[in-house]
């Protein structure tokens, strides 16, 4: 028990509950247990380690793997049965019959536990499967218990007809202290990770291995990251990335390992910037600079080999990503025109893009209506579809110079569609083709900046 609690820290209460419910030896098991709790709260770990500790016969089914019930049945039976038998288990009836056969043959009264991880997936299957598993005990002679592990609460499992109610357990999230404790347990691996990547002298190494240093780092780290994220896995990953940076000045002998305030000043901007990368899992170590001065006059030439880099770029900053596209001049205007067409109502086109649109009569009511509903702004409702001729009309309106409508120009629209900057239907008839701009405002303003165009001026929402 002691050993188990060291292995599964901060879950004493839940472990005790599980031990009590599952009993020991050939005690009778409960019918079913329902375990819920947010992601990364140790649900699966607890159940698995308890079962291993009790040495019960058990199968763990990850429901995400079971796209048909058949796979699940076969998984359960092959997990319980020692000998391999090639039988097709198609229905629940096959399952219960075989379980009964196993009971007579090998298992007898010994407890059997079937664990369904990610049980929320069971909802997409036939609705009677979940209700049958909830009362599996009634359906076969085994001393069997089904455990459902999911991140949803029980109320999210809507049963039309009601079912046999399971015993419910809840796993709360780790709080700040517990997170600290758990991450701190892995101090060794953090240090090792650091030592692999960096050459370190022995005396500095000693400094680094001091637990106080790591504790200090963790305090600083959690004070920034605890607010937006409570996912242990993600926090651990981010801590690992940032600890290396924290230690860099120590390794370079720039900051003394005991000078905490200086270290804090060093790390806090880094933490802030890496907060941006939370969940995104981009390694900054491989920062790639796209070769400067590369001229791609043709948009088709967006190099494929650069794709991975550009993806990273996008995730680091929309702005640099937008610039990395290096679209041709007219294509940029076409893209802007597409954005304007998507986010402006068509009836306002005249006022926005024509020089002599006549006087705007502002009625008080209109003004008030417009001011009130910020939630109904076009920029918040998402892009609307537009036709090709509207796009071209806006394109010519925002472009100062006069150019002819060439096939080259039209090909650029196709390019933009190809690049997934504009979503377009695969319509051959140009008159009926509908388009939609699918890039955001940040992207467009970055593009517009490069051609010296003010997008805000032409957006109805900002007028």
């Amino acid at each position: 028990m002691e050993e188990l609690q060291n292995k599964v820290p901060c879950r004493e209460e839940q472990l005790n509950d599980l031990f009590n419910l599952l009993g020991e030896g050939d005690e009778c098991l409960p019918c079913s247990i329902f375990i819920s709790g947010s992601m990364a709260t140790g649900k699966t770990l607890c159940v698995n380690s308890v079962l291993r500790n009790l040495n019960y016969k058990h199968v763990v089914i990850d429901c995400i793997e079971c796209y048909t019930p058949k796979i699940m049945y076969e998984g359960i039976l092959s997990g319980l049965d020692d000998e391999e038998i090639e039988v097709k288990y198609e229905t629940l009836m096959d399952l219960t019959n075989n379980l009964n056969r196993l009971q007579e043959a090998t298992i007898g009264n010994n407890p059997v536990v079937i664990v369904f991880d990610r049980a929320e997936r069971l909802r997409t299957m036939d609705h009677n499967i979940m209700s049958a598993f909830l009362r599996l005990r009634e359906l076969c002679n085994l001393n069997v218990c089904t455990i459902f592990i999911t991140h949803l609460v029980y109320e999210n499992f809507y049963f039309k007809m009601g079912v046999r109610e399971p015993i419910k357990l809840y796993f709360p999230n780790y709080n700040k202290e517990e997170l600290f404790k758990i991450i701190f347990l892995h101090q060794k691996s953090f240090i090792n990770n650091l030592l692999i990547t960096h050459e370190v002298d022995d005396d500095i190494r000693e400094e680094l291995e001091k637990p106080e240093l790591f504790a200090n780092f963790l305090n600083a780290f959690l004070s920034v990251f605890y607010r937006p994220c409570r996912d242990l896995i993600e926090l651990q990953h981010m801590a690992c990335v940032n600890f290396i940076k924290y230690c860099e000045p120590i390794i370079k002998n720039e900051i003394n390992a005991t000078d905490l305030s200086k270290l804090w000043r060093h790390i806090s901007p880094i933490l802030k910037s890496s907060l941006e990368l939370l969940y995104l899992r981009i390694s900054n170590s491989k920062s790639v600079n796209p070769s400067p001065g590369k001229e791609n006059s043709d948009a088709e030439g967006i190099p494929n080999h650069n794709f991975e880099n550009t993806l990273k770029e996008e995730l680091t900053s929309t702005k640099t990503f937008a610039q990395s596209f290096e679209l041709p001049y007219y294509a940029k205007f076409l893209l802007i025109a597409a954005y304007l067409a998507s986010y402006n109502p068509p009836k306002e086109d005249k006022r926005l893009f024509m020089k002599n649109h006549g006087k705007q009569r502002k009625r008080l009511q209109q003004v008030r209506a417009k001011a009130k509903i910020t939630e109904k702004l076009n920029t918040q409702l998402g892009p609307k579809v537009f036709t090709l001729d509207r796009l071209l009309a806006i394109f010519y309106a925002i472009l100062e110079e006069k150019i002819g409508l060439t096939s080259n120009l039209l090909a650029q629209i196709a390019t933009l569609v190809e690049l997934k900057l504009i979503a377009g239907s695969k319509e051959i008839d140009l008159d009926t083709a509908k388009y939609k701009c699918i890039v955001g405002y940040d992207f467009i303003s970055a593009v517009a900046q490069t051609v010296g165009f003010n997008v805000r001026k032409y957006l109805y929402d900002f007028m």
């Binding site: 947010s38 029980y154 994220c229 995730l315 409702l381």
Partner: protein
């Protein structure tokens, strides 16, 4: 069990008691209480089918956990119980076909989850055939449907209805003793389930003079608190139970049953549910807490478990386990939906409200947009917010060709009730004051 001999005798006893009681609570679905009238009715029906070769059909209805299955299980002992599960259609059909040949034998069909048979046209054909045979005088058989849907008759097709005998048996958890409050019934069950059998001492007495009929009755009475013998046979080691200990335990249970606190918490449970299965689950949890350190059942334990079961508030706990950012998004969404009369919102709208709040409070850390989007998706994964599938919202009513919408613009509604959110905010640990303030001063 010999291996345990070296251990503390108290521990052994406690373990045995725990095991026995667990077994009694979970495995014993054969002992039977109440509903004598209905029971006799079914028994009569079955008897007539078996002995006189009559054919019958009946339907048993009642809410979940009211003992329907138990009732027919008890009656069906001796007969073969066919197909207790709705899936084995094929099996049932083959029985049906062979049934015509075996004219001499009576058959008993018990269709559990009867409503499952009513869904598609194909299975209704089966019901029709089944009921039809009960009229054809070929094979004596009895069809008993068991369901918890009270409206099951409306589901049946007309032709099926015409073949059905319209014999209904309604079973409700406490219809007979309506003058007694259900918590007293629960108390009886509790005492009955938690008491240990004292058969050994009494048995000896009755064995000496077992010729008369009345003695047999006495044995029955003595064994009342015991498990049915065929279950007991699987677990031989209960013989190690110390009789003195059993007496002591039973006294403890009856003593506890007199406690008015016990009645109080049972009454509370009855407000929520009269489902006996749930009650058994509660007793199971209670019994599993028994150990050397706490060899007796405590009423406060029971009330704690009842509180946990009837009002689990897992959703509030789930909300409380969100990060501050995620909770802020939930609050932003709640406000937005209050302003627009429950119209669904997309990510941009929520973000707009959130940034409005974040900008007005300089103390809050600013979080970049992708992280907020991720938090939003996390909420979606936990089904705290749900995507709107219908197109009747004002936003996309005009857009019939609404081909795939970007995720920022997908519309969501809040899937948790407002009360839960306010509960969660109230009891949130270490919630920044400005968020609490923002929540209470709702509409900006």
């Amino acid at each position: 069990m010999c291996g345990l001999a070296s251990e503390n005798p108290l521990e052994v006893q406690i373990k045995l008691i725990r095991k026995y009681l667990k077994l009694k609570i979970m495995a014993d679905n054969i002992s039977f209480r109440g509903h004598s009238q209905e029971r006799n009715h079914i028994y009569d029906l079955f008897k007539r089918t078996v002995s006189h070769g009559e054919s019958h059909s009946a339907l048993m209805l009642g809410p979940r956990g009211s003992g329907k299955t138990t009732m027919q299980l008890e009656n069906a002992v001796g007969d073969r119980v066919f197909g207790t599960f709705a899936e084995n259609l094929a099996f049932l059909l083959s029985c049906l076909q062979s049934g015509a040949d075996r004219r001499c034998k009576s058959m008993l069909f018990i269709l559990e989850e009867f409503d499952m048979f009513c869904h598609s046209g194909r299975t209704q054909t089966l019901l029709y055939n089944l009921f039809d045979i009960t009229h054809s005088e070929q094979a004596p058989m009895c069809v008993l449907g068991v369901t918890n849907r009270l409206d099951v008759m409306e589901l049946l097709e007309k032709r099926v209805k015409s073949r059905f005998s319209h014999r209904h048996l309604f079973i409700f958890p406490n219809e007979h003793d309506s003058q007694r409050a259900p918590q007293y019934k629960y108390k009886d069950v509790l005492v009955q389930l938690l008491s240990l059998p004292v058969q050994k001492t009494v048995k000896k007495k009755s064995r000496s003079r077992r010729n008369t009929v009345s003695d047999d009755m006495e044995i029955d009475a003595a064994l009342e608190n015991s498990l049915p013998p065929h279950i007991l046979a699987r677990y031989p080691d209960f013989d190690h139970l110390n009789p003195d200990f059993i007496l002591d335990w039973n006294q403890h249970i009856t003593g506890m049953a007199e406690d008015y606190k016990l009645i109080d918490c049972l009454e509370k449970l009855c407000y929520y549910s009269v489902n006996e299965q749930i009650f058994r689950n509660i007793l199971f949890e209670l019994v599993s807490k028994l150990s050397c350190d706490s060899p007796y059942i405590d009423v406060s334990d029971l009330s704690a478990i009842i509180d946990k079961t009837v009002a689990p508030e897992h959703r509030v706990k789930l909300l409380q386990s969100l990060s501050i950012l995620e909770l802020s998004l939930v609050i932003a969404m709640k406000h937005g939906m209050e302003i627009f009369d429950g119209q669904p919102m997309n990510f941009e709208m929520v973000l707009h409200r959130y940034t409005k709040f974040a900008n007005s409070n300089s103390s809050t850390q600013t979080v970049p947009r992708p992280v907020i989007l991720k938090a939003f998706e996390h909420l979606q994964e936990l089904e705290i917010i749900m995507p709107v599938k219908t197109t009747d919202s004002i936003y996309n009513g005009s857009e019939t060709t609404a081909n795939r919408v970007q995720k920022e613009y997908k519309l969501y509604t809040l899937a948790v009730p407002n009360e839960d959110i306010s509960d969660a905010v109230k009891n949130f640990k270490a919630l920044p004051t400005e968020i609490n303030h923002w929540f209470n001063n709702s509409v900006v």
